[in-house]
Each structure stands twice: as structure tokens, then as C-alpha cells.
Symmetry: C2
Subunit: 605 residues, 2 copies
Amino acid sequence: MMSRWKRLLIGRPMKSTEIEGEKLSKLKALAVLSSDALSSVAYGTEQILIVLMAAGFAAVWYSIPISAAVLGLLLILVLSYRQTIFAYPAGGGAYVVAKDNLGVPSGLLAGGSLLVDYVLTVAVSSSAGTDAITSAFPSLHDHRVMIALVMIVFLTVMNLRGVTESASVLAVPIYLFVIAVFVLIASGVIKYLTGGIHAAVPELGSTVSHISLFLLLKAFSSGCSALTGVEAVSNAIPNFKQPAERNAASTLVMMGTILGVMFIGISLLAYWYGIKPDPENTVVSQIAAATFGRGWLYFIIQGVTALILFLAANTAYSAFPLLAFMLAKDKYMPHAFMARGDRLGFSNGIIFLGIFSALLVVAFHGETENLIPLYAVGVFIPFTLSQLGMMIRWIKLRPRGWVSRFVVNTIGMLTTLGITLIFIVTKFSQVWMVFIFLPLVIGAFYRVQHHYRNTADELRIDPSQDKPVIKGSTIVVPVAGVTKVVLQSIGYAKSLTDNVVAVYVGFDDESIEKMEKKWEEWNPGVRLIVLRSSYRSIIRPVMKFIDTVEWKTADTDHITVLIPQFITKHWWENILHNQHGLLLRTYLMTKKDVVVATVPFHLQR
Amino acid sequence: MMSRWKRLLIGRPMKSTEIEGEKLSKLKALAVLSSDALSSVAYGTEQILIVLMAAGFAAVWYSIPISAAVLGLLLILVLSYRQTIFAYPAGGGAYVVAKDNLGVPSGLLAGGSLLVDYVLTVAVSSSAGTDAITSAFPSLHDHRVMIALVMIVFLTVMNLRGVTESASVLAVPIYLFVIAVFVLIASGVIKYLTGGIHAAVPELGSTVSHISLFLLLKAFSSGCSALTGVEAVSNAIPNFKQPAERNAASTLVMMGTILGVMFIGISLLAYWYGIKPDPENTVVSQIAAATFGRGWLYFIIQGVTALILFLAANTAYSAFPLLAFMLAKDKYMPHAFMARGDRLGFSNGIIFLGIFSALLVVAFHGETENLIPLYAVGVFIPFTLSQLGMMIRWIKLRPRGWVSRFVVNTIGMLTTLGITLIFIVTKFSQVWMVFIFLPLVIGAFYRVQHHYRNTADELRIDPSQDKPVIKGSTIVVPVAGVTKVVLQSIGYAKSLTDNVVAVYVGFDDESIEKMEKKWEEWNPGVRLIVLRSSYRSIIRPVMKFIDTVEWKTADTDHITVLIPQFITKHWWENILHNQHGLLLRTYLMTKKDVVVATVPFHLQR
């Protein structure tokens, strides 16, 4: 039943050898890995304008140089990540690069920020997509949380189905978005050049009285939030078709180019059209309305924008499980993140991401806007560490032409470090949490690794010395009456050893006498020990009795406690049975060194 | 650790023989059982006035005859429940009375409505108490759900501590409330008689143009919601000190008298003062303000009123577990509801009530006002059935003087039936749910009973014929490597039988070869079977292998599968281990007829 549902949702299981077929071509990789980066076009320019408007409309011309600066930063990031791809063809991104060159703590800092960040990405972008939908259909406003959760479930299932299949489904909206924005930019530029726009805009370079360096930096850092998602490609190299690193590098360049053109295009049009940010009407929406009027083209652009904001989450679904896998391989995260599921994806990572982002959406009632700065900091910390790592690497290895590469990474490091600091200074009230939970996450990494190491030490044996020891055996069978279950358990126990003892716990003299009489009458060839419980607990007297048995026989015998378990035909019938058995089992397992054998009794009706 | 916390919260365990000391004296019983009934004084009159205002201020004089009618109904209920107490000294209330005289289906209908009702009581009154608090401190409004939940947790813990202890804590606010309301009524009456009130009020008996019978009935039924909770005493007779039925009867009469005086007092003052219902200012608050001004006496009255609304939930905490116990004794509910906890209360009933009412509060965001009519219907259905049952009983038994008792119950039955119908007709949109979930609850009762009966049939043995059968034994040990855990499991298995086989599941040739070599080197004297899994599943190949073993040996041998389980030192380390073992165990238990023995491995570090 369960398994049929699983098939329907996720598809047939795939053999391990089918993994090569699941690898991504360049075009599919662009679809899977770029949605986060490209979707930022929908809000990047707007973020800059909102900050600048604090100094009045005259200041909006600064959006052009700031956009150019962001574009420059994008170029630096693409160049430096391209270098990383070739240096680390096995993939890795910030975690591997930082760990390799700066040491484990930096690696874990980068990895931890990214992991947290991917969870935030999914929460934020599913909420943003929901906002887009509820703006169009206000009657759905009360169901925002539900819509966001449905989207998260959809993405989780798509990704459990496997990478290529999710690529095939997701490619359509992403390419539609790219085409739509290019059509918009082209039409807008033509309209502007042919004199179709008559907006009064502040001239480039005109002096503005209220502007400050702080404000400009803040605007720049806000614009930089458009660059989140650029690192996705370098994390996901193992998902690419061979030659993986060449394909990854081309994909990165393609993505950077498309992002750059779209970003600067929207910024230019916004300036030429003299657009003011409006909480009720996004910048892209204003541009589209001014270019096409509110006709079907306008609605197509709005629709695919909403869609892409939704799908931005998908980048995290590719990146999170891979990163978790790498951390698990190094024993910083539970082994469970290393298991490939039926469809060859790292199912546990995908499910973990889905659950935690869903919890965030529920906790914030779908209003996750406040998490955006947090999320930007979470990206720029690993950016900086990764660049720094590459710098160290160039200095250490000094391959041919290393100086120019070193310069690229140095510029990148300084810029991303600067942006990180600007974020922390200008938006401390929204990002302080990072200083609490990053240490927590990193602490958890260390504790997990510590535990795995200790366990491995404890489990090691010397194959030539340590051989199985054969002992005697005593079996204890707690019984509640004379029934078929007891009959079966006693039969099983007697088949294994002659040292079998049945235990009965009674609450009053009457029930004890009755049981003793019944047992005598039945006479199964096993001694019955009767315990009296004044406190109505079954567990405590049994535990005490086993203490005694242990004290008497533990040196010579293995002690086994047989616990019958009813296997009901319907799941709900479980709540009608087995509570005492389960409790006893838990107590025995945690407190005692005895084997607990569960004898199933399948109820037929 | 857990157990120390439990001690601190709940107190030391008590012996079964201490139960007599936990029984209630009359005064304590009044405190525990009357909070629901008495608290309705806080809103009963108001409910009547709100309905009457629909016909204009001139209609408010009808509140006096209507209050008198409610008082009459109260008298009938008290008299008839008094008769029930003496007829059923073992306690029972509607479930027992209806089952006994009208048959099982009626009994379950009464019991089911009451159970659902008690959950609603807790949800509604914890929300109402929260409203009272947030009215006083508006800044707490955003935390309403949290406040209600804290209250539910508090009541749950108090009741887990035991009946008398919770009585000692809860008696104070309840008696404070009674004193406060009596002081208010006395002062108000004195003020009125000494001519201190000069309000223009419609004369008694003046004609009102817009009034209709429907409206009057609706007002009457609204007023009747003040009578919910009267049944609590008759349900709880087993909790009373000896002589239980005499004490219960006196408590019921005391409660009825106090409730009646307070209710008619408030209604009279409201009429004399010419008070109009106001959503921002309750009737009691208006009366108190008019009598004392907004001084400290006013605030005391408001404070204890808020407190009593909160504590109204406590009645349900006494009644629900007892009713659930009775249903469980008749096998209509899980046996778990029959177990007395450490402090001699029916802990599972108390916890169940706490959890479900908390879920309701969360689901309705603490706005449970809409549940009030539902809750009133849930009380009047069992009221009616209980009276009808008593009627049948008098006709059947015909004791001396049965006619007058029959008349009392007949009047009671007709009135409560009438009110039930009025509720259903006038507030169908709010009570229709009752027609969906009552059948569901009753269906569940029957299914539970059906299951328990079937199980008992299946488990029965013939002690003279059925004796334990001794067979051979085959033990299967899934292994993941050559470690101390495997050493221990193999040692245990070999101590029990010579038929031991180890199974290893490998995903690729390399790991399989490596394992085979290691095993040979170690040579523990047990054959290793190696399975290859192309789908990376460990469960499926092992299950298939066990199929084969079953097919070969099930006739002659018991088959046991040994699964090692790591017992970690810290609970969180559990997520780092045991997933495969747990999954394999679940599959084996549900699908196969093999014994699963869990060998604990206690990690020391």
C-alpha cells in the first residue's frame, strides 16, 4: 500500500549503474541550477531603488553606477568560481575549498552557512512565490501558508523523482522567464531609442544633497542580494555529464551572462522610465506596463516572474543534498545523508530540506521577508571564505599564470568581505541571529564527528584475537495470562534452552491467586514467578526481577527477555495493544545488557 | 532524568491502597465539580439579553420570566439527577443510565457526546479565560494561544498530581468567586431597595411589538447554556468519600442552590439597572461598576470572574477520565484508559483530554466562541437520554412512590428534549457538525469493542490440549562489517544453536570481495552469505533471503533474526545510528512470522 503510493509519487527504483543517465547536460543544468540566481532579476533593481529613494527621487541616477558595480562583482564572481571549478573538478564549492586551504573550521563555517542558507532559500522563495500568487488572486490570501507548503511538497517530490526528471519539468518556466525578460528589455530599449518615453529623470552625475556613502553602500549591498545563487554551479559539478568541469564552467558563464544582461537591462529601463519603487506594484511590473500596456504580454511577464520566484527554491534542492553528502562523508553529519534513494538522489537531504523549510514557513506564517538579509549574509560568508581559500591555494601551488588568478580572487575576496561587513553593519537587527546559530551548527558538526570517531574506536576488534564466546542461556518470559500468545512464547523459549522462567505481575491477591491456579492447571513445564506490585506498575517489578536474574546468572548465561507483540491487521488497532510491551522493551534496551526478543503474534481478524 | 522531572511535576507515586485518602469531601467536591456550572453565571444572563435586544430594549423585561424558567429547569435537573445518584450509587451519569435502561446504542450516544463535550469545555473555557486576561492586558493579545495552552498544561499537571491536591489548589478561586458574586448581589439589592438606582426600564408585562415565540425560545435556550456542568456530580460519585451517594446528593443540591441564587440575582440586577448588553463591557462588569464604581471591589470581581472562567475546564478533567474508564471497562475504548497512574488518577484520560483540547485551541487560534452552541447541544443530548432512561427505569421497577419521581423525570426529559431541538433549529449552522462526528465517535466505539472481542476469541486456549511445542532453531545475523557488535551477536547466536548464518549486503563487487576476505581471515565459525543489491536497498535482499530460509526450515525450526542496536549515551546520538536496524525490524515484524531479537550494544563514550 505505502510502497504503491511511493512508486506513484516517485517512480520505479533505479539501479546504481543508471546514475550516468541521471547526469545533467549543459542546458538542463542551467535550468536546474540557475533559477535562484536568475530570479533575483525580479527584485534586484528594486532593492537598490528603495534604498536610494531615502535621499529623494534625484538620487535614483545612482542606480546606474551601482548596477554597474554589481555587474562588476558578478563578473569577478563568475571568473573566480570558474577558476574554482577547474581547480576542484570533483565539485565542492565553498566547503571543500575552504576546508582544503584554510583548514577544517573555516570549511565547516562555510558549509554550515550554506546549509542554513539553502533552508532559508526554500522558505523565502516559496513565500515570495505565494505573494506573487496572492497579489493576483487576493481571495487566496488566507491560504498563503498552505500554498507555500504545497509548493515545497511539489519541489520535494520532483527532486525525489530524480535530477533529470525535475530538470525536464522545471526547464520550461525558466526558459520562458528568460525569453520574456529579454523580449521586455528589447522592446523597452527600442521604445526608448525611438523616443516613445517621456519621463523626467534626474541626469546622470547631477549632485544630490542628502546622499551619503553609507546610503550608497547600503544600496550596493542590497543590489548584491541579486547575486545569491551564483555559487550553485560550483557545488554541483558531480551532477554534470562528462567532461563535468568543462560543462560546469560553460554553464556558469552562460548563467552569468544571462543574469548580467537581464540585470543591467532592467536597471537601465527603470532609470529611463523614471520609475519609483511602489510597494503595490513591482518595478518589473511598472516597466512591463509602460512598455506593453496592461495587455496579455504584461500578464505573461507577471506570470512567469511569479513562477520563477517559486522555482528559485529548486537550486537549493540540488545543492543542499550534495553538500550534506560531502559533510556526511567527512563524518560531520549523520551517515543517513550519504544514502542514495530509489531514484539515485540523496533522498534524506531532500526530505530534510523540505521539512525544515516547511517548518520555517509555518513558524513565520509565510511572512519570511525578514529572513532575506540573513540569507544574503549566509551566502556572502562562504563566498568570502571560498575566495580566500583560492588565494591561499595559488600562493601554495604557484602554477603557471597564478598571479592574474590570484588577483581575481583577491579582488573577489575583498569585495565579498566588504559586502558581508556592510550587511552586518547596516542590517544588524536582522542578521544578528547568524552569530547564534552558526556556532550552534558548527558545534553540532564537531559533536557528530567526535561521536562517530569514538564509536569506530569502540567497535574495532582484532580479528586474530577476538573470537565469539559461547555461554549458557536463560530466558525470561513476562506473561499476562494463559493465552495463545503465552503458549507460543513458551514454546519458542523452550526450543532454545531449558532455563526458562515465566513472570507474572499482579496488583492484588485475588488476581495473583487466580493466575497461580490457572498456571498449575495448564502446567506448561515452566516455572511461574509471581510478583506483587503495590504501585500498579508492571515495568518496575519486572526490571527488579531481571536485576536478580542478572546477578545470579549473567556470568555464565546470556539473558534474553521474550516480549510478545501483537501485529494487528489495521494500523489503528495498534493503540489497543502493546503499550506495556513497548515500554518494557525500551526500558530493558536502555538500562540493561539483556537481549530483547520480540515474538510476533499476527492477529488474523 | 525523565523520571526525576516526573516526580517534581507530579509527586511521589502512591500505593493502590492509598486511594481512599484521595476521595473528596463535600466541600472539596463542590470546588472540583462546580466550576463549570458556576462559571456560567458570568455569561448566562447576558446570553438572554443579547437575544432579546433583537426586539428592542422594551423586550428586556422578558429576561425575568425567562430566567425564572431557566431556574425552574435547574430545579428539575437537580431533582432528577438527585434521583439518579441514589439509583446509581456506583456513579455513571448519562452513559450508565442510558445504557442500562435504553440499551447500548443510546448509552454510547450519551457517552460519546459527553466525551466530545468535555474536550470542547476545556478548549472553550481556556479560551474564554484568555479573553478575560487579554481584555485586561491588551498587549498580551498576540500571545492568546500560548496563554490558553499554558493554562491547559497547568490543569493537566494539577490533575495528574491527583484529585484532592487539585481540589486544594482550585477551591480558593472558586469560593472567592462565590463570595464575590454574593457580595455583589447583596449590595446591588440593598442599593436598589434603598432607591439608589434610577434607571428607566420597561415594566414587567408591558406589550412588545416585535417579539415572537421563536425569539423567546431562542433566548430561553441561550439562557440554558448556563446549566451545562450540572451533570458533573452524578458522573463523579466514585470520587466521593463514603457515604458516597449521600455526599454527592448534598453536593448537587448545594451547587444547584448557589447557581440558582447567583443566576436569578444577576438577572434581577441587570433588569433593575436597565443594563444593555455591550460587546466591550460584560453585564456582570456593568452591574459591578454601577454598584461599586470602578474601584478595587470592581477589579476583584472582574479578576475572580476571569479566574473562574479559566477553571471551568477543571470539571471536565474530573469527569472525562472517569467516563473514559467506564467505556474502556466495557471495551468501547482502549484498555489504556483503565490504568491508574502514579497518583491514582486515570492519567491517560487526563493526558488525552489535555492534548485534544490543546489541538482545538491551536486549530481555532484560541477563538473557540463558535464552539459554544455545539458544546451546549453536546450536553443536552445526554441530559435528555439520561432522563428518558430514568423514566423507563421507574416504569420497570415501580418502587414505592415511583409516580412522582416518574413525573419529575418526564418533565425533565421533555424540557431538555425541547431545548435540544430549539438549539438544533435556531443554531443549525453552528451545530451541524454534531451530526457528523457523533456517528464517527460511536462507530469508533463499536470497532474497538469488535476488535477486543475478536482478539479474546483468537487468544483463547484449551489448557488441557494446547501445550508448548518444541522445535529446532535457525538464527540469521545481518552483519555490516567485522566489528565488536558482530562479535557479540555471533557469540550470542552460537550459544543458542548451531544453525547460525551471517548475511552481508553489498552494493558493488569491491565491497563484497573485501568483506568476504575479512570474514575468512576472522573465521568466527559461522557461514557468511553475501547478497548483492543493485538498488542500494538493504531491506529487500534481506527480506528475500529470509523468505528462502523460511521456505527451507520453517516447518522444523523457529527462525530468529538478530538485529544489533546501538544504545547511545546521549539521546541525540540515536539519529546517527540504527536506521537500517529499525527499518528491518519493522518490516520483519509486520511481514514475517520470525522472532526478532535485538542485541543491545551500549556505547560507552
